[in-house]
Amino acid sequence: MRVSTAANQRKHVSGWSRKERHYVYLGLAFASPWIIGFLAFTVYPFFGSLYLSLTEYDLFSPPKWVGLQNYEQIFADDRFYKSLGNTFFMAFISVPITLTVSLLIAVMLNFKVKGINYYRTIFYLPSVIPIVASALLWTWMLNPDFGLVNMALRTLGLTDPAWLLDPRYTKPSLILMSLWGSGSGALIFLAALQGVPRQYYEAAQVDGANWWYRFWKITVPALSPIILFQLIMGLIGAFQIFTESYILAGGKVDGSGSLGGPEQSLLFYAVNLYQEAFVFLKMGYASALAWILFIIVLLITFILLKTSGRWVYYGGE
């Protein structure tokens, strides 16, 4: 008896009691759909692509080990640099602009005016529309001769560019399109805005701070964790931009046309990767491209998180 109690006690200290173990199994069983999905569709492909990036693989015949050859080729590839440049442009110019605009929209939508709910709906509405549909819609809006955008520009006496055909304007066209969808970002900001304690504003007002000062000194710091979150998500999204370019500059169905628009100005990283993998059948090379993208995104996220301490304020600290 004594021995068994001791054993029981030891067991209790080092591990789980029978009851606890029972709950752990039960819990694992309930989580198993996710666990299996995670292993099969995330972990396995993740390491699978790492392996494939070190091989020559055309999808049909077994992969052939080539070591780092794919990576060496990438760094000598014009299309890699071109697509990376285009993607950086979208990430570092488009994302901050979209972020600023959605913050401003959120501030506007936070005013207590009559019918504010309608405005909120209207600003959010474009985010519900699928990218394919909105891309097609924008090809009409950006039509140089009878599109709405240029009609407005002409009325104001400004130049009316050939948006989607002039390589200098193709990326700004996409930025314009992404602004149209900034309602979803604004919604998150709006939720955060409503969580900013009113007392701060009241106290500032008593001290005679004007609107602009209150915005900079209270609203922006209070929202900074949300700004960081949106910035990171936006950057990750921008690094994977694909659909807009595929629709707007998708060449022909038979794949013979060059994807990427005039002078490859819309050849983004993901578009290039897609083409290498599924048109040129270079799956190994495309996997290597994907890993480089992963490392770039990881680095940027890491740097952002590391430096964020200087400008992000958490309410609890």
Binding site: A29, D58, D78, A162, D166, P167, E263
Partner: protein, 435 residues
């Protein structure tokens, strides 16, 4: 107690695991043979899945042929599926559960065939005595590499010069340009440029099909004996120079502005239909579109202009094809072959291509009376017999080659690279892929 729970969790795990793998094509046990069919087939009938890329009325034409086959062949039932996402074929073949027959674009045949995704058909061709000499050589060459045939071309496309008779008459011409120098003169005279460079009308869009014109100058993209890709071949350079000369007369800014204001290709606002282009280089399907969208257009169809110094190069053109093939890993290749063979027999080929407004690939189909009703076909059928038709050399890297070439062609026209520099880049990028 404990054991019971463990067993239950295992059962749960197991059922989920098997549930997951049901969606995995490599493990699903359903082979084409035992899928239920709508119309009860004969006892030992096989059912073949046939994926084709056509949609709408074109798919209906194909379905009519499939129905015809099914009623005549109770033992081999074909089930057509319009599947215009060609990437799906890749996934299906890789996953080990491919369709039994599929259609593809000609330029993918050799890249896929060499990598083992398409079954070589040579044994069948020899066994059934299929006469490959009946096929248009340029069309057949898209399916062949080093003596092996990976697919059967069922329709082909070739471009000719379309011209607007009214506009040409206004300008004092009573016929289309026949030589390259006449073409240049026509374009200049037919284009209308406003003060300040804004274009009202173009004689011919200068970023024209570089392949067609390369062949018009006897250009060649590959040197077989030297195993060299030759994007810098003098013939190709002449074609690019021709485009560049016209391009520079107007400039990228004006051309971009003009072209982005043009209407949709498949509409009454197609620039050729609306008179924004006096001439255009386009394929055999265009007359069918004209009939549909702009029936009053007074137009003519003429051969691609030739270099007056090389009259032997008259009637040149670039051929692209649509093909049928048997994917790797099908259960019943013999049955698939029987269907492909029947579909590409002159009679069926004529019925299919006449419905689509495409050209047949077999000489013996050309004379089929079905084509008499297809607008503009006489010119194209005659042209299809020309000895100067070429197609882009079929190779495992053909897609990379064409992509790189068109990217550099665009850059050359826009003046961001010189012609020599651009073509050198193509060569440097593609030559290492030659094995």
């Amino acid at each position: 107690m404990k054991k019971k729970h463990l067993i239950w969790s295992l059962i749960l795990l197991f059922s989920i695991a098997t549930g997951c793998s049901g969606g995995n094509p490599s493990q699903s046990g359903s082979d084409a043979g035992d899928k239920p069919s709508d119309n009860p087939p004969a006892q030992d009938a096989v059912t073949l899945d046939f994926w084709y890329g056509w949609t709408g009325p074109e798919a209906e034409a194909l379905e009519r042929l499939i129905a015809k086959w099914n009623s005549a062949n109770p033992d081999i039932q074909v089930k057509g599926l319009s599947q215009s996402d060609y990437q799906k074929q890749l996934t299906a073949i890789t996953g080990g559960n491919p369709p039994d027959i599929a259609s593809q674009f000609g330029q993918n045949v050799v890249p896929w065939g060499l990598r083992g995704a398409m079954m070589p058909l040579d044994d069948y061709i020899t066994k059934d005595g299929l006469d490959l000499k009946d096929f248009v050589p340029a069309a057949l060459s898209t399916s062949q590499h080093e003596g092996r045939t990976y697919a059967i071309p069922t329709a082909m496309h070739v471009s000719m010069l379309f011209y607007n008779k009214d506009i040409l008459q206004e300008a004092g011409y009573d016929g289309p340009p026949e030589t390259i120098s006449e073409l240049k003169e026509y374009i200049k005279k037919l284009s209308i440029v406003e003060d300040g460079g804004r274009l009202q009308r173009l004689g011919l869009w200068p970023g024209m099909d570089a392949y067609t014109f390369s062949y018009a100058f006897n250009g060649s993209f590959y040197n077989e004996s030297a195993q060299q890709v030759t994007p810098d071949h003098p013939g190709i350079q002449s074609a690019i120079k021709l485009s560049k000369e016209i391009w520079d007369q107007y400039g990228s800014d004006n051309l971009d502005r003009f072209s982005s204001g043009l209407g949709q290709y498949m509409s009454a606002q197609n620039p050729f239909f609306s008179g924004k282009y006096a001439m255009t280089i386009d394929g055999e399907w265009l007359p069918t579109f004209i009939k549909q969208y702009s029936p009053d257009l007074n137009y003519g169809i003429a051969p691609i202009p030739y270099d007056e110094n090389k009259p032997e190069l008259q009637n040149s053109g670039n051929v692209t094809t649509s093909v049928f093939y048997i994917p790797k890993g099908v259960k019943n290749p013999d049955a698939s072959w029987k269907f492909i063979k029947w579909m590409t027999e002159p009679e069926q080929m004529a019925e299919f291509t006449a419905a689509l407004g495409n050209l047949p690939t077999r000489n013996s189909a050309f004379s089929n009376p079905l084509y008499e009703d297809v607008p503009g076909f006489k010119e194209f059928l005659d042209y299809s017999g020309s000895e100067n038709l070429r197609s882009f050399p079929a190779s495992s890297y053909a897609n990379e080659y064409m992509t790189e070439f068109s990217a550099q062609y665009d850059a050359i026209l826009r003046g961001t690279v010189s012609m020599e520099e651009g073509l050198d880049k193509v060569k440097a990028k593609i030559q290492p892929l030659v094995k």
